[in-house]
Subunit: 173 residues, 6 copies
């Protein structure tokens, strides 16, 4: 009998060791679907990486961690909360559970009748996207917060240089 | 001879006694069109209710107040101020007057050649959407600010529970 | 106890006596929701009237026919079949049944778990939107296919003149 | 005293001698605004050239013809007829007349209260976009239908090669 | 040294043995990226399956065929040919080659400087999406044109019943 | 031999003497393309003027300054950074250089392989859009920061009155 499928959505800017741990925990009991949220965003300080770059980070990290039978799906924002669940459900294979710690998606999937669980996070203070992006702007200390495969992808796409450029002060001339 | 038609637009998150009073005052002299602004929004703390839920609040409240010959029209945002008046005019029956206290829609309808009047509001401090949504998050005190029919709709859709869930703190994991 | 609500969607280009009959039949047993489909369309030979003009046709016709307790809601297309039911459900008050004779919306509402019934149409050959729009282009014979209130609205917005103008032959210069 | 401004809209796929003649005629009496319609389209057999390529064709041709004081404005489609006039009016400088031979834009600008005139076309059979695009696919005969500056632009962007490629038969594999 | 990555895009309505053969051939020499085109489409006779359902068909078929190290990415249409390549490039991991037999995407990727090759198709008459969808409407003969995993997915989502329902004749009432 | 073309993008809310200086400097060495950024915005305190009004300001100012052989192109936002360069490139004639002092567009054009240079600005404190819009709200002092032709356009469209109206305090009733 096939295991049930569980969806876990994040923005993964970047994919870090906390995310990896969640994926590993879910994959012990379920077939894992990883949704890349805000897939249309890139090249900002809050969302530096494209969906394709994030896809590469996740696939390589999950492979290196020995996971099999997972799916990775970019999920562009749809701009209307009332359509979000249908939008996601049309883009990913059928699933039975939804994992998230964020209030809005939890509520939306609950109203749609899905079983919702909290993501089993460890060391949230250390493995926070905001904190890691801050470290990346400074250029150091971020490498130990992400899988080695992510370090490799960031270097291939020259991600730290990109964040440095985007952080330059703009004036409204 | 048919009376002239007047359009009154609000977000109605939720529809409260101040809104009802405006509707009653306008309906004394005009055929009333009620436009539900930002119809595409829902499930946020500032815009908790869907357009359909707001439609139900307004229709039941106006019926209970004895109004007849009114129209209720959901109006999604169009995202470009220069198109707003044409967008509204295509979605609602022809009208001659526009009632609003908000600077931007007043200006846009004025530039388009409509007669614009201020909405005849009473007790604005008490009947404020921001204040009432704050009370709803706390769970009490909001019921006396809205028509009884709105209390009923909020309970039917479990609106206070929804706002409570949406208010949970999110972390950027 | 409140009656159950039933949704009936059409494009109503224009609202004709066949539509009226469906509305009357549904309203005998249910609280009626009338959805104006393809609300964003206007000024073409297939979709000559704006959503606001169609709203006016329907409201006046239902009032003249003695119906009460109905809702009329413009429904812009959303461009993705997988989101259609959520889109509609967010714009109209909660409903339990869906009436339609069209294959696509029937299937979509069925997959979403709604009870779907066929619209109780009479004289479909005579009361067909395509046929009536054809008659309107010719300028005669259409009046006996629509309620008197629709004749009035078409005249107020000079609808036959509009269709005549739109039918002029274009060349790709 | 400044002359009145007149707007003339076409798709200009490509800009040909018939278009040039219209521009010259209008510019004798008015300050000319040239709107590039369906600006978002490119790389199809009906719309082979980008808005930027068409802009270049028109600007060079009008300069070579000795015109001054004209404006060229790309106009993306807005997808809703009821918003078209407001959309155009927000993107181009204020104007008083609208020139077109096409039924839909004529009607839309008339309903919005603009003065509308027919474009003064000569030799419409010969100077037809459809016919000229057909000649371009064949690779010859099109050069004498367009200004010399357009021949130059088409060659710079390798437009005939592009049309040849796009005309290859596709199969739905 | 990592192999080069190659992108192969189709609509995969449904994924059939011809597609599988292309994937196997490309995967011999490259790391394979499979793009699901027109990902936003579903529930029509030409595009019956959602992106999520197609994703499941492909992933299971490639796994069963023993492929590893592939990526599957849903690609919604962007509606502007001039943006297509950038849109795709932002959603998929970096790639060096593009495989397609369709004229438009071939041309667009060529203009953007990519190396483009034809997809190595066998038995195109038999393995055609149009033909297989026709067989599915009839209900038989399609099973031998697709991998066994696709038969399984179509049955799980009751795809043949869906196509049967969508094929009912609609009338414009 | 034709000079190379250079693109300079700003929002030009309004076009001021600092912008004019940049245009004059670029035009000494290149054929100048002026892109009107955020073309879809208008009627807000940060973006008071429509693209058409800004087009008129720029065209008249450049003409009065004796420039020839320039192009002015409205550029609506596209909402996705990864598509921005392709979007711009499809709307403007082919160009070789990009001038900007803003971090995000500089980075995006650099990643796309364009040569990027800083805009040669003088007196940035005095000629700042934010500062000049503040002066316009107050109603005086702004005239000496913009070309005389801009003063004229602002008066024609009653721009100061518009900004005054938009600055009225709104309450969320």
């Amino acid at each position: 009998m096939r295991p049930r499928r569980a969806l876990y959505i994040g923005r993964f800017q970047p994919f870090h060791l906390g995310h990896l741990q969640v994926c590993q925990t879910i994959a012990q009991d379920f077939e894992l679907l990883v949704g890349i949220g805000s897939a249309q965003e890139s090249h900002t300080l809050d969302n530096p990486f494209t969906a394709g770059e994030r896809h590469l980070m996740i696939e390589r990290s999950l492979d290196a961690a020995g996971l099999e039978d997972y799916f990775i799906i970019p999920l562009p924002d749809v701009g209307r909360n009332a359509l979000w669940v249908s939008h996601v459900a049309s883009l990913v294979p059928p699933f039975q559970l939804f994992f998230s710690n964020n209030a809005l998606p939890r509520r939306l999937f609950q109203e749609a009748g899905y079983e919702v669980r909290g993501a089993p996070f460890f060391e949230r203070d250390r493995f926070s996207g905001t904190r890691i992006r801050g470290l990346m702007q400074g250029g150091k200390g971020w490498q130990e917060c992400v899988p080695g495969e992510v370090v490799q992808v960031v270097e291939e796409v020259r991600g730290v240089e990109r964040m440095h450029d985007l952080a330059q002060h703009d004036e409204d001339a």
